[in-house]
Amino acid sequence: MTLDWINGLANIAQFAIPAAILVWADRPPAGNSSTPPANRQPARAPNGS
């Protein structure tokens, strides 16, 4: 089967559709609406007490 431009578009679509579903499925569970921003430093526990 020679690849022409229609097959090129099909090649793009066959990756775009499952990728979109996987992005949806990978969402954080309810109650954990977001993961921490990449640059946020973890909070430090107060000293003493």
């Binding site: 089967m1 020679t2 690849l3 022409d4 431009w5 097959n7 090129g8 578009l9 090649n11 793009i12 066959q14 990756f15 775009a16 499952p18 990728a19 579903i21 996987l22 992005v23 949806w24 499925a25 990978d26 969402r27 954080p28 569970p29 309810a30 954990n32 993961t35 921490p36 921003p37 990449a38 640059n39």
Partner: protein, 171 residues
Amino acid sequence: VYPGHFAAGLALKTIEPRSPTWALMVGVALLDFLFGVFVLFGLEGGTIGHLNIPWSHSLAMSLLWSALFSACFWRLGRRVTMIVFAAVMSHWVLDALSHRPDILLWPTSGTPLGLAQYTGGLAGWFEVLVCIGACAWYVRSALRTNAFGAHWATACSVIGLMYVAEYLVVR
């Protein structure tokens, strides 16, 4: 290695959960997206098993595409940038391990790589192992961290369906 690429993306998500999932999914498929674009412009083509993919899939160009794409995520930190870089390069690694010899070192090099000529039918089992291993790792991390993978069963099912589709179409 159609589903294997996405399974690798899910596995990479577990290493750095702050990595944008869409970036990982686009990353693992980027070389094939580029292949589709280059086919549209007549730069690449071929037939299944005998692909002409010097600009999208050669090692040198894959490193370039990985660097360019991962650089877009530099503001998210070095670790995320490296994971996105690894996502794009994982495509080259998996293809080099499972393709017939059509992966060049650079666009004009004359020595194609691709271990499928030596491994034969083992390439199919290799992909099964990649998919199962990556999905198992992903589910384990999703359940442990509760930071991603709310619908991990759907994600794994999509990987499985992709494998069946690939099996029916290619083999």
